[in-house]
């Protein structure tokens, strides 16, 4: 999603993404409420120096017509001494209005300060596209960097399949238009808990089939059937897209209907099973203990694929996981060696289950609701959808988030 960039004093979310993945340091001054900050903050490849001072605490010396002068008076009374003068400071709030005054106050104190246009809301909705040519086809990895969500458009001979479409479906429609290919199939690897799927809406808009495994057509906690329109996905099902074949592997564990897709026998879209630095958690359906052994069997099945298989997951937990060209990708051989969860999957079922059940991060309340939305059991407007999706996904095991927790 593009946003306006005012010259000089503003950073757009595109600017922010470039800086987060670039080499130069900067400092974040976040003025949102404390619990909003604790729930979710801007993160980079490495730990990003950040301070949180809720803006309403900065009104202590409010006696000026211009709010920026009130903020300036507060900063002068103490906080300014703790802020760096050798790197740029990015002022951040929820929508980018208050932080504009804060950035102005910092500039009046001679800091090199900028405002994040649109705030954390715009950052959460920012999409990035990276492409790679492989197996005589083009694979576009479409991500929401702030949320750690990845989706894919796979193109062969001008025809394309979309896997795990994220909520803002115009991203896929405009990409197809710009690059001149035709989307003829939409698939979800599973019923998502952390974000609202764009799959049903994208398929309906384009008039193409949308497939989901029927086990994920039942809300696991409500035990109610989905009301969305979808075609059944089954193990072994093969789709022809352009000159290539996409094969379905039913790999229950993260969900009962969890699937992976193998493109041309070479590229594996693992959805929520194998990530780059971790593996998926089995408890978001409320049945971690009974689903963990299924997860084990499914991971063992994926490990039988050739070591050269290229793995493209549906999530990452930190921008540092990206490799050359900014793509989140690894070979199955590399992951078999380096990914702790996959190393555990090579041990006994008992050891794996004990490991995974001891590694579960918190279960966000809103994940039950998001699954309802994805099943069509609950309708939400834009602002509620945006609120449900706030923050970074927590679909992997706890170890994936440890760096941030310690910072």
């Amino acid at each position: 999603m593009s946003t306006k960039t005012a010259a000089g004093t503003e950073w757009s979310v595109e600017d922010l993404h470039a800086k987060l993945t670039g080499a130069k340091d900067f400092f974040v001054f976040d003025v949102r409420a404390e619990d909003e900050f604790e729930a979710w903050k801007i993160e980079g490849k490495k730990v990003l120096p950040t301070v949180n001072v809720p803006y309403y605490e900065m009104l202590e010396f409010d006696e000026f017509d211009d709010v920026a002068d009130s903020f300036k008076a507060f900063l002068e009374a103490g906080t300014a001494h703790k802020l760096p003068r050798d790197v740029p400071i990015l002022a951040v709030c929820a929508k980018g209005d208050t932080s504009e005054f804060v950035a102005e106050a910092l500039r009046r104190l001679d800091f090199d300060a900028f405002n994040l246009t649109g705030g954390t809301a715009a950052w959460g909705d920012f999409y990035d596209v990276k492409s790679v040519d492989v197996a005589e086809s083009t694979i576009c990895q479409i991500s929401r960097p702030a949320r750690g969500c990845l989706s894919y458009v796979v193109v062969s001979e001008g025809k394309a399949v979309v896997i795990d479409a994220l909520r803002h479906v115009e991203q896929y429609v405009s990409l197809a238009k710009d690059k001149g290919f035709e989307i003829e199939l939409v698939l979800d690897t599973h019923g998502h808990a952390d974000h609202i799927s764009g799959g049903p809406e994208l398929a309906a808009r384009l008039g193409v089939p949308y497939h989901l495994h029927p086990y994920d057509g039942i809300h696991p906690i409500d035990v109610l059937p989905a009301t969305i329109g979808y075609s059944y996905l089954r193990d072994g099902q093969a789709f022809t897209v352009g000159g290539k074949t996409l094969e379905t592997l039913h790999i229950p564990g993260h969900t009962l209907g969890n699937a992976a897709f193998l493109w041309d026998g070479k590229v594996l879209f693992t959805g929520d099973s194998i990530f780059i630095e971790s593996i998926a958690r089995p408890d978001l359906g409320g049945h971690g203990e009974t689903w963990a052994p299924l997860h084990y069997a499914s991971l063992r099945r994926l490990l039988e694929l050739p070591a050269a298989t290229m793995v493209l997951p549906a999530h990452f937990s930190g921008l540092g996981e990206a490799g050359n060209g900014g793509l989140f990708v690894a070979t199955l051989g590399e992951l078999t060696r380096d990914n702790e969860g996959l190393r555990m999957a090579q041990k006994s079922e008992e050891e794996f289950v004990a490991y995974i059940l001891a590694s579960l991060p918190k279960f966000p309340d809103e994940y039950v609701e998001i699954k309802r939305v994805n099943a069509g059991l609950l309708e939400v407007g834009e602002s509620k959808a945006s609120e449900l999706e706030l923050g970074k996904n927590i679909c992997a095991l706890a170890q994936a988030y440890e760096d941030e927790a310690g910072s």
Partner: protein, 84 residues
Amino acid sequence: MSETPFDKVLDASGLNCPMPVVKARREVRSLEPGQVLKVISTDRGSVKDFQGWAKVDKKVDLVGQESEPPEDPVTYIHYVQLAK
């Protein structure tokens, strides 16, 4: 639908953050101790911000909050009392 008594109204409809809190902070200080200011806002973020502000500002207490309509709110009302 309001059951919280109030002494003065501040209509901050259409104002973006930080103005609802800034104006409410100034206005409530013009009241007598114990009096309540009713603040009307259309900014969804104001709900948490008023809670946070009331926690750090010793001179004010947040004595009530409402959203209208409850299912899909467009208006957020805050009742702010000047400490006695």
